[in-house]
């Protein structure tokens, strides 16, 4: 298993370089001048444009710019934004907020989703099963910004304060995780229903094990593989993809920063965020893959 993990980590290096390179080209390939429209109605003075172009090395060919960026990155320097802010400072501020928000969302998904899934899976066809099925359908069908706006404006909620305390993140986290929560419920339910007919469950019941142990240890553990996969991927995507929820509640996280930076053509920030998100995805994926072996002893790593 150690060798497997090592091999996966080594594979991550070309993936990381490839994705950042692509993003770098895409961001700089956007049409338009990053310094146009920065001076209001007037045209920017040529001296200013020249100064900024030199300062950020925008005259160099793209591959050279990318290599410079990569060497700086290896030294731990993310560079600066156009207004002189250290990109590292921005990331250090925004990532903890986003991680907290994503964890709240994933925790809600896991807790509520799996519980609801187990309840409905064990009582297939009952009233509660149908109720949950209908409500998850509604959640899946409703776009997240609708849920967010309705929650915020009809309940009159205030924005999350700058320190983003955990308590204030609960409602935004629930909203952020609402769609996935519905999927988790359904995934858990389907797997449970399927595995209940499996031989090992029948054996466990025949052995005279307590029903709670049959469900909790034997049945649930084996039904968790797709659920864990989903949760792991969600953690990554919620971190960078919470643009809508972060905007509605003014949470100063990665999603809003990314959105703002694309609008302002702060490519250094965009590429840095994406680079870190790629790393997060790679690591989460590895952890999920390793978890398979824990959940199902039949899975071996070569």
């Amino acid at each position: 298993m150690g060798r497997y993990a090592l091999r996966r980590l080594l594979q991550a290096i070309p993936v990381f370089i490839g994705t950042t390179f692509l993003i770098w080209f895409l961001v700089w390939g956007l049409p338009g001048d990053p310094f146009a429209g920065r001076c209001g109605e007037r045209q920017c003075p040529p001296a200013y444009v020249q100064f900024m172009t030199d300062k950020f090395g925008l005259d160099d060919p793209l591959p050279v710019q990318y290599l410079n960026y990569l060497t700086n990155l290896l030294r731990g320097e993310f560079g600066q934004t156009f207004n002189g802010t250290e990109i590292g400072d921005l990331l250090a501020q925004a990532f903890p907020v986003s991680i907290k928000l994503a964890l709240v969302a994933v925790a809600a998904e896991a807790l509520i989703g799996i519980t609801a899934g187990v309840l409905t899976g064990l009582r297939r066809g009952s009233f509660i099963d149908n109720l949950v099925l209908v409500s998850t359908l509604v959640l899946i069908a409703t776009p997240i910004f609708v849920i967010g706006l309705v929650a915020r404006y009809s309940l009159g909620l205030a924005s999350v304060s700058p320190e983003a305390p955990l308590v204030e993140l609960i409602i935004p986290g629930l909203i952020l995780g609402s769609g996935s929560l519905a999927y988790i419920t359904r995934l858990t339910r389907v797997n449970l229903v399927e595995n209940r007919r499996a031989d090992y469950v029948r054996t466990a019941v025949a052995k005279g094990l307590a029903p709670s142990r049959v469900t909790g240890v034997h049945l649930l553990r084996n039904s968790m593989i797709p659920v864990v996969t989903w949760l792991g991927l969600d953690l990554g995507s919620l971190m960078g993809g919470a643009i809508v929820t972060e905007g509605i509640f003014n949470i100063r996280g990665i999603g809003g920063l990314l959105f703002d930076s694309i609008n302002r053509r702060q490519s250094g920030v965009v590429v840095s965020i994406v680079a870190i998100l790629v790393l997060v995805y790679l690591i989460v994926n590895l952890i999920v893959d390793l978890l398979y072996g824990v959940l199902d002893p039949r899975i071996r790593y070569e």
């Binding site: 001076c39 001296a47 200013y48 100064f51 207004n83 002189g84 903890p96 205030a158 320190e163 809003g256």
Partner: protein
């Protein structure tokens, strides 16, 4: 999520100090209200916080809080007031200016504000290799052409701009610690008015040691000092109790909080989480929703310093008759168009000067800018020669079509003529036709103030041969009046003369004033005595907290 931010430490220590003081002395009466704080919706500035390097509003509002220049524009009427300057005088009709500073002013780090701080700051800003956005504002100081250089083959070509001949402006001379002398390229009585803009603010010596670091942690001489700036979250300024100016703030702390989504900010002002939003989101303009939400006492609809006009080809038969021009102006139902097309984000004009300007007088156009279809028709019919073509030309690359069509419709209905909107594909093409006098009908025109003074709306737009006189309007008596005003050194008397000049315009109708752009602002119940200044910002000196 993070450690304790510095300002919290400050607050904590103050609280401890107060508590300690409370133990030894008799209890003070309840804390006065001028210790309050409030929160403004904000977004990250585009540039480092250096006065001459900032031209957009987000950075500008913080710069204005942290720095004070030679003069200020009064929040109420945009009149120029001495701030850090004791006096700005000229003995030779406006070419050489002697600036005397008030003594005793200090930077936030305790060092004195000297004449050298101004001269150094202006030299640095004007020197083109330093690449500051507002460098061009120093263009009328003698020797400017020696400190700037142009890229010989344009910005996209390999050659770069050569080093300028000098790195100091010839026209700036330090006389002593509190006096410096400025020589302009030519006489200008209005120069003291121009220096109120933030590009002319001074910089302390510490700036020149590390300009980049200074832009992240500016040290100013203004009514507030920077307390903390958590990037992409919020910036906090706190009152500078050593401030020597007369505009001492009545609040202690102002927090500028970053919002990505202006709808979220609006909602937070509504529920009292934050206290001020300078421009409400466009969705709240429909049906004046923001007025319903906030009421008249917590919202404002204030003009910004740009206005729209119609230029008339005064060289063509028909259009050369003031009666025809007046009739067309009276045939336009400005109020209805502003309401239907612009959701009241414009304000109908009744004069040739924007209301944010010093010297603005309400209603100077009178009945000729007021819609009256019957009178307009009668006046139009009384004219002997009618224009051959009634049309309004505009550039199709911006959203002008709806209002041009509405204006045309209004004219056509009132005067029983045909009026057509004539789009041209690009702004460049449109302007070329206007400036080369190729227009066969009317054309749209817009103007944005360079500095808040009535003169900026008359000389460049309506004087014979002026650069932006699109209609080639010319009137000898009007020109003479402007010349008299230009040559008057006393600013109050000059302003009066400019007003007299504007008063001549209804009879001449050189252009047709349409409307001013405006800004819709809302604030929470916590704020009182809210004044919006000439730049559309909240005046931090007068605002109070309940």
């Amino acid at each position: 999520m993070r450690g304790i931010t510095p300002w919290k430490v400050t607050v904590g220590l103050t609280a401890v100090a107060l508590a300690a003081a409370g133990c030894t002395s008799t209890p003070e009466p309840e804390a006065p209200k001028n210790d309050g704080s409030f929160i403004i919706s904000w977004s990250e500035p585009q540039n480092p916080l250096v006065p001459a390097g900032t031209s957009e509003t987000q950075g500008g509002v913080v710069i204005d809080a942290l720095f004070t220049g030679l003069t200020n524009y009064a929040a109420a009427d945009a009149k120029t007031e001495m701030a850090n300057a004791e006096s700005i005088t000229s003995a030779d009709g406006g070419t050489t200016w002697t600036v005397k500073l008030k003594s005793g002013w200090k930077w936030h780090d305790g060092t004195p504000v000297t004449a050298k701080n101004y001269v150094d700051a202006w030299n640095y800003a004007a020197y083109s290799p330093n690449g500051l956005i507002n460098g061009t504002f120093f263009g009328d100081i003698k020797g400017y052409s020696d400190v700037v250089s142009e890229d010989p083959d344009g910005p996209d070509k390999p050659q770069v701009a050569p080093k300028p001949a000098k790195d100091k402006l010839d026209g700036l001379k330090v006389v002593d610690d509190n006096t410096f002398e400025v020589t302009l390229g030519g006489p200008s009585n209005l120069w003291p008015i121009k220096v109120g803009y933030s590009a002319f603010m001074p910089l302390p010596d510490v700036f020149f040691k590390d300009p980049a670091a200074f832009g992240q942690k500016p040290i100013g001489n203004g009514p507030f000092k920077l307390d903390s700036w958590t990037k992409n979250v919020e910036l906090k300024v706190t009152r500078n109790d050593d401030y020597q100016g007369t505009d001492k703030p009545k609040v202690k702390d102002v927090v500028f909080r970053v919002y990505t989504d202006d709808a979220a900010a609006y909602e937070d002002v509504k529920n009292g989480t934050i206290d001020f939003q300078q421009q409400v989101p466009s969705a709240k303009l429909v049906g004046d929703l923001y007025k319903t939400d906030f009421g008249a006492d917590r919202s404002s609809n204030k003009p910004v310093s740009s206005s729209a006009f119609i230029a008339l080809p005064t060289w063509l038969p028909g259009y050369n008759d003031p009666k025809v021009r007046q009739a067309i102006s009276m045939a336009i139902d400005r109020k209805l168009i502003v309401e239907k097309i612009f959701n009241n984000t414009r304000i109908p004009m009744n004069g040739w000067v924007n209301p944010n300007m010093a010297g603005y007088k309400d209603g100077s156009c009178g009945e000729f800018c007021t819609f009256d279809a019957a009178k307009a028709k009668a006046l139009y019919d009384s004219a002997t020669t009618k224009p051959k073509e009634i049309s309004i030309a505009y550039n199709g690359d911006a959203s002008h079509k709806p209002w041009v069509d509405a204006v045309c419709n209004s004219i056509a209905t009132a005067l029983s003529v045909t009026c057509t909107g004539k789009p041209f594909p690009t702004f460049g093409e449109f302007r070329t036709l206007v400036t080369t006098q190729k227009m066969t009908g009317m054309s749209r025109a817009g103007w944005q103030a360079d500095y808040p003074h009535i003169e900026n709306w008359l000389n460049p737009l309506l004087k014979t041969g002026a650069s932006s006189n699109d209609g080639k309007f010319s009137d000898a008596a009007f020109d003479a009046k402007l010349k008299e005003a230009d040559g008057t050194a006393d600013l109050a008397a000059a302003e009066k003369l400019y007003q007299d000049a504007e008063a001549m315009l209804p009879a001449l109708m050189p252009t047709i004033p349409l409307w001013h752009s405006s800004q819709q602002t809302v604030w929470s119940a916590k704020l009182a005595t809210v004044t919006i200044n000439t730049f559309g910002e909240l005046d931090l000196a007068t605002v109070t907290v309940k």
